[in-house]
């Protein structure tokens, strides 16, 4: 009796916790509301099964508790019942999986009009590169990195000249403009994760990974590194600021392009040399 009640109570407490505790996700700020929807769907389906199985178990514990005069049933198999349960579960799996795969397909299909920007991860911080007017990012190589060329851009690639380098952990994005983030790492694995956007992907050295999203809500969101990358992993933060078009342009105007940066550096070097 006591045991059955406690098990039932635990289930009830779980439900209460789920619905009434203050801990829940932050409101979504990107187009990936569908991800939340699939999660909710999964919650309903699996939650129902969880509650049903556990309550049934508690019921059995209570109803069939030991009594010396009782004899347990002897029934090795019930083909029909097992068959039904199997198909029911298979149905549940399909119900969960099908919508999930549809959304995943969307997740890996980047729309044509997405703005391609590059996120550069390193131990332990974030930098960004925007394509400039030509809309194309220049080639890079880890081998080219030096003090004058912190991103390792290929100077000979004409596309790289007007690339805009953001040497700062703050990134600005324009609201409702789809972006494809191309993720690059200089050293180890990292992961570009903004909880409010619901999207993430590892950055790897030696290869470019990507995902896309459309910021749909103004505000400032924290970037977290979500792949363990060494002692400073937990401190590898940054911010994304989602702006209206105008604020975004203002910010963009203040950024410096690769060409300009090289020129400035050269000037400085010249000055040092003259001294």
């Amino acid at each position: 009796m006591f045991v059955a009640i406690i098990f039932a109570l635990i289930i009830v407490a779980s439900i209460i916790f789920h619905f009434w505790s203050p801990w829940w996700w932050t409101p979504v700020a990107s187009n990936w509301g569908n991800i939340d929807d699939t999660i909710i769907l999964t919650f309903w389906v699996t939650g129902a099964v969880f509650v049903a199985v556990c309550l049934f178990m508690a019921y059995c514990v209570w109803a069939y508790r030991y009594r010396p005069d009782r004899k347990a049933e002897y029934k090795p198999e019930d083909k029909k019942l097992e068959f039904r349960l199997t198909w029911l579960t298979a149905l549940g799996v399909v119900a969960l999986l099908a919508p999930g795969l549809v959304v995943w397909n969307k997740y890996i299909t980047v729309p044509e009009n997405a703005l391609k920007i590059e996120v550069v991860a390193y131990q332990w911080g974030w930098n960004y590169r925007l394509p400039g007017d030509d809309g194309v990012l220049g080639k890079t190589s880890v081998g080219l990195i030096n003090d004058d060329n912190p991103f390792g851009l290929d100077i000979n690639d004409p596309n790289s000249k007007d690339d805009i380098l953001v040497m700062d952990a703050d990134l600005h994005l324009e609201i409702n403009q789809p972006v494809k983030v191309e993720l690059r790492s200089l050293d180890v694995l990292h992961n570009f994760y903004v909880p409010q956007f619901r999207a993430k992907m590892d950055t790897l050295p030696g290869i470019i990974t990507y995902y896309w999203f459309t910021p749909e809500k103004k505000g400032e969101y924290e970037i977290l590194c979500a792949e363990y990358c060494g002692t400073g992993h937990y401190a590898m933060r940054g911010f994304v600021q989602v702006d209206e078009k105008k604020d975004y342009s203002d910010w963009l105007a203040k950024q410096i392009s690769f060409e300009k940066m090289l020129a400035k550096k050269e000037l400085k070097n010249l000055l040092i040399a003259e001294k």
Binding site: K116, K139, T140, E182, I208
Partner: protein
């Protein structure tokens, strides 16, 4: 260590082994010739694989006596290879993906 004598009499005429031995030589020679003649492309690929499997099959079936074993053990030894097969297929797809990604972003440039 224990032994059960009575069923252990599958000894074969020595000729069987000599035959297989000879065949292995021949096929090794063939696969060597693929390189020597310098076939390329799909032809090379399929010939190499073909000779490889023939040789492997002969060694397993005759030298390792698998041909004379009962199905119970033969199946146990061969089915797990499907897992390896899946692994190979996935990793082949993965490496082409990696290759094109590297070419696209680092060699050719987007």
């Amino acid at each position: 260590m224990t032994s059960d004598k009575k069923q252990e009499v599958h000894t074969h005429k020595i000729g069987v082994y000599l035959w297989i031995w000879g065949l292995l030589f021949v096929f090794s020679f063939f696969s060597y010739m693929v390189d020597y003649i310098n076939y390329q492309g799909l032809l090379r690929w399929s010939l190499i694989i073909f000779f490889m499997f023939v040789k492997a099959g002969l060694i397993m079936a005759i030298f390792m006596h698998l041909y004379w074993e009962r199905w119970a053990i033969v199946n146990v030894l061969l089915w797990p290879m499907t897992a390896i097969g899946v692994f190979i297929a996935i990793m082949a797809a993965e490496s082409y993906y990696t290759f094109f990604s590297r070419m696209f972003y680092f060699v050719v440039g987007s």
